[in-house]
């Protein structure tokens, strides 16, 4: 769903690093290097970010679309 | 912390302690075994989910097991105090 707050295995805080990680990987940086610069050393924490899929965004699209439709309806009627 | 005596003779002692686990038991076992007068020392945690442990001590006969146990705790306590002192010293340097 949304990025977990802590690493499942060791309990290190990783939630606050996701947005920077995702942004930098999207700009073409190598994921491993980004993790290194964020000082995520252990592989249990690294997989948290590497293997994460932000499904909330997909679910939120339903609400965004519904909102758009509502606006369109208000516009025509 | 609650202590219950399960068995007690002149050279044997078996106590059940509520609320301590491997942390302290293992430390005490090692300290007990360092004592020359102790023949056998061990501990058991009958159920992994409960924090009750059974400590068993057998001495060679020239010392009461309670005495040996008390010495062991004292030794562990002193080591901890020394660590605390050294830690303070080391932390001051940074």
């Amino acid at each position: 769903m949304i990025i977990p707050v802590r690493c499942f295995t060791c309990g290190k805080l990783i939630g606050d690093k996701w947005e920077e990680f995702a942004r930098r990987v999207k700009t073409g940086e190598e994921a491993g290097r980004v993790l290194d610069s964020l000082e995520i050393k252990r592989y249990c924490c690294r997989r948290m970010l590497l293997a994460h899929v932000e499904i909330t965004d997909e679910i939120l699209r339903f609400y965004e679309e519904a909102e758009k439709r509502k606006e369109a309806r208000n516009y025509y009627y | 912390m609650k202590v219950k005596t399960l068995k007690k003779t002149s050279s044997e002692l078996k106590i059940e302690v509520e609320g301590i686990g491997h942390t302290i038991c293992n430390l005490l076992q090692k300290r007990l075994l360092e004592d020359e007068n102790v023949d056998l020392a061990g501990y058991d945690i009958p159920h992994p989910l409960s924090s009750n442990s059974v400590i068993y001590i057998r001495t060679k006969g020239n010392m009461k097991p309670e005495e040996a146990l008390r010495n062991a705790v004292k030794k562990a306590h002193e080591m901890n105090k020394e660590f605390s002192k050294e830690l303070k010293k080391a932390l001051k340097k940074i």
């Binding site: - | 912390m1 202590v3 430390l27 901890n80 605390s84």
Partner: protein, 274 residues
């Protein structure tokens, strides 16, 4: 006993301890993980939640947020003189969150919490809690309490506390022909080739894997990896609630208290008998 701080970088600390033994260091390690208290959100009253996450999922996420802890100012709920299940100002901090997405989708961050006590706040302001679409609302009140790691991992002050023996590497320079195989195989880059010799670059990262011994073509191997059983490298990484040095000194204090209590109990037992 001798202690040296090898490294101290914000939330990490490495100690070199000489003259200790495994049961003692292990007792310390276990105490750090299970007995040192820190603060975490423990109870959440959800007033309104129209987000995509369920109430319990949000409550769980809130619980895992590390909070900056003031150990001197607060009591453990079971030791607090108020004896109330709900808690008082000495054993509970209330944090409130009231957010609504007015325009488009937005993320709610841990920094949006309003704490009763400005010292007890999330360690990081950038932890995403939930994402809200337009017109979705989240309104809640959370109560943070002190707790111990043995009850729930959210109260663990550390994300890592490990120890290892101090490695000792000996290279027999008479038999070593500096083939460099041991340098190549070492994933921690402990060894380095210096001209016609093999030298130790940095001893600390060595994991005692013995790969360099196995790969050595000499028989018996020219390199020998052993360890000092009375010297330890203790590695501590705080989750952010408390500084690592505080965690360490707190663990020592707790262990001291427990041993004292144990002595007291066996004394009581003895006086009962006689």
């Amino acid at each position: 006993m001798e202690i040296e701080v090898l490294e101290k970088v914000d939330m990490n600390m490495r100690l070199l301890i000489r003259g200790a033994d495994v049961p003692f260091i292990n007792a310390l390690r276990r105490t750090v993980i299970t007995e040192v208290p820190c603060m975490a959100i423990d109870e959440v009253v959800i007033i309104e939640n129209s987000s995509v996450l369920q109430d319990e999922t949000i409550a769980h996420r809130l619980g895992l947020i590390p909070l900056k802890t003031d150990l001197d100012g607060y009591n453990l709920p079971e030791e607090c003189p108020c004896k109330s299940e709900f808690g008082c100002n000495l054993c509970r901090v209330s944090l409130t969150l009231d957010v609504e997405s007015k325009e488009g989708t937005r993320t709610v961050y841990s920094g949006e919490f309003i704490s009763e006590n400005p010292d007890i706040v999330p360690v990081s302001d950038k932890i995403p809690i939930v994402k809200l679409a337009k017109e979705q609302k989240l309104k809640l009140e959370a109560y943070a309490r002190l707790g111990k790691g043995k009850k729930h991992a959210k109260w663990q002050p550390v994300s890592m506390c490990t120890y290892k023996f101090l490695p000792q590497i000996r290279i027999d320079s008479k038999r070593c022909d500096a083939c460099g195989k041991c340098v190549e195989v070492c994933s921690r880059k402990v060894l380095v080739k210096a001209g016609d010799r093999i030298e130790i670059r940095d001893l600390m990262p060595c994991t005692l894997c013995q790969d360099c011994v196995d790969v050595c073509p000499q028989n018996p191997p020219a390199v020998d990896v052993s360890w000092d059983e009375n010297t330890f490298i203790l590695n501590l990484e705080s989750a952010g609630a408390l500084p690592p040095e505080r965690i360490m000194s707190e663990a020592v204090k707790i262990l001291d208290k427990q041993l004292k209590e144990f002595v007291r109990q066996i004394k009581v037992k003895k006086s009962e008998k006689s």
